[in-house]
Amino acid sequence: MFTFPVEQFRLDNGLRVVLSEEHSAPVVAVAVYYDVGSRDEVRGRTGFAHLFEHMMFEGSENVGKFEHIRTVQRVGGVVNGTTSTDRTNYFEAVPAHYLDLVLWLEADRMRSLHVTAENFENQRQTVKEERRQSYDNQPYAQAFLRLNEVCYENFGYSHSTIGEMADLDAAPLESVREFFRTYYAPNNAVLSIAGDVDPAEVRGCVEKRFGSIARRPDPPRPDMFEPPQTHEKTAALDDALAALPAFLLAWHVPGARSPDSYALEILATVLGDGKSSRLYRRLIDQDRIAQRVTIERDERRGPDLFGAWVVCQPGLAAARVRDVVYQEIDDVVARGIAPAELAKAKNRVRARFTFGLQSALQRALRLAEYSMYHGDAELLRTELSHYQAVTLEDAQRVARTYLATANRTYLEVVPGAGR
């Protein structure tokens, strides 16, 4: 259970602030979420939200190039930023007496990003190296990008967050300033602070550092409408770097924390979480036809995907392994899950939730996400109750509703290495 106190308020400029006080360790975590992700990108500008995230470390009015990171690390802080389809976040965890320093750093770049052509070229190259290191030089990584292109008709989710090389090359400097003006407004952000703090004192600091940043027009929101999929899609991808056959499966499902998402998570847990899950037992222990099996939802704001990722044992036809997965899915659709499986899945969700709140940083991130996606960080308290309420009937109903053939996409990875 989430038992920590939570305070929420809004500054006059629209900045949403979440505070959670907890004194067990002399650490404070700060997270700033901006409501912009790769789903906001248009054709020809893929990868821009993430490239922009890199520019947030390249200097602002009072902070030089990369000084943000150097300043935080100098005091023993953890610092980073990440970009997803749905949002961009920046975070720090520092010894608690440096809270004001971190607020000052975050406020400086929310107010006044300083962009130069030289720094932009530097980060363009850096991000291209990131793409090579994380995708182009890695077996199987391309398949995860390809899957979204096949599944989604809506451009917002069909293209990658890392972006196309050609689009990264073409990204103009002026777009950095424009993107900043459009999306990096206080009224489009959430500031979340968790850890060893005195809330009354923090309110003052937050007001002092962020209060004078001007509100700007609310940015446009993307239309994420996804037409219902009416027939099964299949595709294949040659992967010269991969040695073992593999495949991805995906079904369209509603977004994170929509009413059916809880039963879908229970289903994903029963099918694929842990060594005693149905698919682990069947594919890895019993039939010994797979190396690895993962079942999970992407947890997008939505529409989301419920996916399976399976790496087969050497020499097997992927389609043969896939058919075994289909058998297991068919069984859940036809017969549902057992009471003991439901109880176990609930226990596992509860434990995962608890383990996921151990550090101040984990708590700051969860609270910020709740505030941004659902408008109320306090909803984190009720999260577990939604899972506890899932019934056997719910689990079978969502299996029947969403894990249907017409709603399914199959992407086979054809390995080319080691031949």
């Binding site: 907890e22 360790a25 002399p26 650490v27 009015e61 009072n62 030089g64 990369f66 990171i69 150097r70 300043t71 690390q73 100098r74 005091v75 023993g76 802080g77 953890v78 520092v94 010894p95 608690a96 007496h97 440096y98 004001d100 320093l101 750093l105 400086d108 300083h114 070229e121 530097n122 190259q125 850096t126 190296e129 290191q133 030089n137 077996p139 991969a242 040695a243 073992l244 842990g274 060594k275 005693s276 890895i284 010994r288 044992q313 050497p314 109880a343 176990k344 226990n347 596992r348 969700v349 509860r350 434990a351 995962r352 608890t354 383990f355 709140l357 151990q358 550090s359 290495a417 080691g418």
Partner: protein
């Protein structure tokens, strides 16, 4: 940089006290050490049973026996088949996993603290009485063989495998990081049973429990489930200092470049390394400070040079490998093929600087205050605290190691830090490994030394 006067960052408040949790240590009559630290923030517990035997104790002709044994621990015990072991932990939301590295095998459980008694019972059973069923052995053999095939496509795996061969020489216990296909095919049930019999015994093991627990309760559980573990074994011999590598490492050799040819690579993964220190060496902490200056974080020299100034990489770092014997210091980064040679040059520039010039006070200060300041964040969760106590056990660090750690980091002088790292990283004698496509990068590497080409299987290529 803007033209106006810059605002100064705000001053910090008053630092708050930080202390490593108190660790209660006891030893059972059979020699098993039990270490407990309390953290009552959340109702969770981590329990680790650490056994001082890893791949460094593999029989010489059978690399992979320790890792194979570690996987077999969950395949069944004298009292329970595999399905029940896994089911019992997972039913209550816990996870049980085994792993192994050069010096240790670890059996770990994360669980809600109310279920700790069951977890300790299982840990004890899995460690002391695995049954090595034939069907499980064949399953693990197939699985690991597939995993090995997959690893051979991973540039990081290929780089590390080649690096440790050249760093330690083929016959050293730390020279291999994984099984070979031939060894996986050859390992028998009796090899696994023999390894377990020789190396898994209470005198070589420590039970570490951290979280929402009471020391008395843990000690009672340990007495109940582990006091009956009666086994004699043989302590793993201390690994010798590395001598001759495949590349013929010696005090007078020239630097060579080991190129692992991975066709189709769009980046060159560069590793420059040297043998460093035993983890328990008194010189470790000065070396940690020196490494922090060179490449311990994104603020350090390698990252600032190769990424922020020269746009050659997504990230470049240096790190120390913690081993009971002598571990390595490794500098690494990946660069697009066209600039592989330039990236190598910049690594060498930064390594050269260590012996050529004093480390400015500001950089020393940044390194030391980072290492001290990050301590409270490192000890925030039971999992991290358990892992740190586990390191004390495996590497033979003193009981007050983490209590005095920050003082000792703070006491390192510039000459101590610089000399400790400069003495190890002699640019002329580094071991250099590059993973990439030979056709795309080979010619750029020639100026750094004679090139030896290896295929992804680890054989010399023509």
């Amino acid at each position: 940089m803007s033209t106006g006067t810059r605002e100064s960052p705000p001053a910090p408040g008053n630092p708050r006290p930080v202390a490593f949790p108190q660790v209660r240590r006891t030893t059972l009559a059979n020699g098993l050490r039990v270490l407990v630290a309390e953290d009552h923030d959340l109702p969770v517990a981590y329990a680790l049973l650490v056994v001082r035997a890893g791949s460094g104790a593999d029989p010489e002709n059978l690399p992979g026996v320790a890792a194979f044994t570690s996987s077999m621990l969950l395949e069944g015990t004298a009292r329970r088949p595999r399905d029940r072991i896994v089911e019992e932990v997972e039913q209550v939301g816990g996870d049980l996993a085994t792993s192994s590295d050069e010096d240790r095998t670890t059996i770990g459980v994360q669980i809600l603290s109310a279920d700790l008694p069951m977890a300790i019972e299982l840990l004890a059973e899995v460690a002391s009485s695995p049954s090595f069923p034939a069907a499980g052995v064949e399953k693990i053999r197939q699985k690991q063989s597939g995993e090995l095939m997959r690893s051979l496509t991973d540039p990081g795996f290929l780089g590390r495998r080649q690096l440790y061969r050249v760093l330690y020489g083929d016959r050293h216990p730390y020279a291999h990081i994984a099984a070979t296909e031939a060894a996986l095919a050859a390992i028998t049930v009796s090899d696994l049973e023999r390894f377990h019999r020789r190396r898994f015994f209470p005198g070589a093991a420590s039970l570490v429990v951290v979280g929402d627990v009471r020391p008395n309760e843990v000690r009672d559980l340990a007495e109940r489930h582990l006091a009956g573990w009666k086994a004699d074994g043989q302590t793993v011999a201390e690994p010798a200092a590395p001598t001759a590598g495949t590349g013929g490492a010696s005090a007078t050799k020239l630097r060579r470049v080991h190129l692992v040819h991975r066709p189709g690579s769009v980046q060159a993964m560069i590793l420059l390394a040297a043998p460093a220190l035993r983890r328990a060496d008194p010189g470790w902490i000065p070396l940690v400070v020196g490494n922090q200056v060179l490449g311990g974080s994104a603020s350090a020299r390698l990252f600032m040079n190769l990424r922020e100034r020269n746009s050659l990489t997504y990230g470049a770092y240096s790190s120390l490998g913690a081993r009971r014997g002598v571990g390595p210091i490794v500098c690494s980064g990946s660069s697009r093929n066209e600039v592989a040679g330039r990236a190598m040059e910049e690594f060498l520039v930064e390594i050269d600087r260590l012996s050529g010039e004093t480390i400015p006070g500001d950089e020393m200060d940044a390194a030391q205050s980072y290492l001290c300041g990050i301590f409270p964040t490192q000890i925030e969760t039971p999992a991290n605290v358990a892992s740190m106590i586990g390191q004390q056990e495996v590497f033979g660090l003193p009981e007050d190691y983490w209590d005095t750690y920050r003082d000792r980091v703070g006491a390192v002088s510039e000459p101590m830090a610089r000399r400790s790292i400069a003495a190890l990283l002699d640019p002329a004698r580094l071991e250099v490994v590059v993973v990439g496509d030979r056709a795309a990068i080979g010619s750029q590497l020639e100026r750094f030394g004679p090139i030896l080409v290896w295929d992804t299987e680890g054989n010399a290529a023509s």
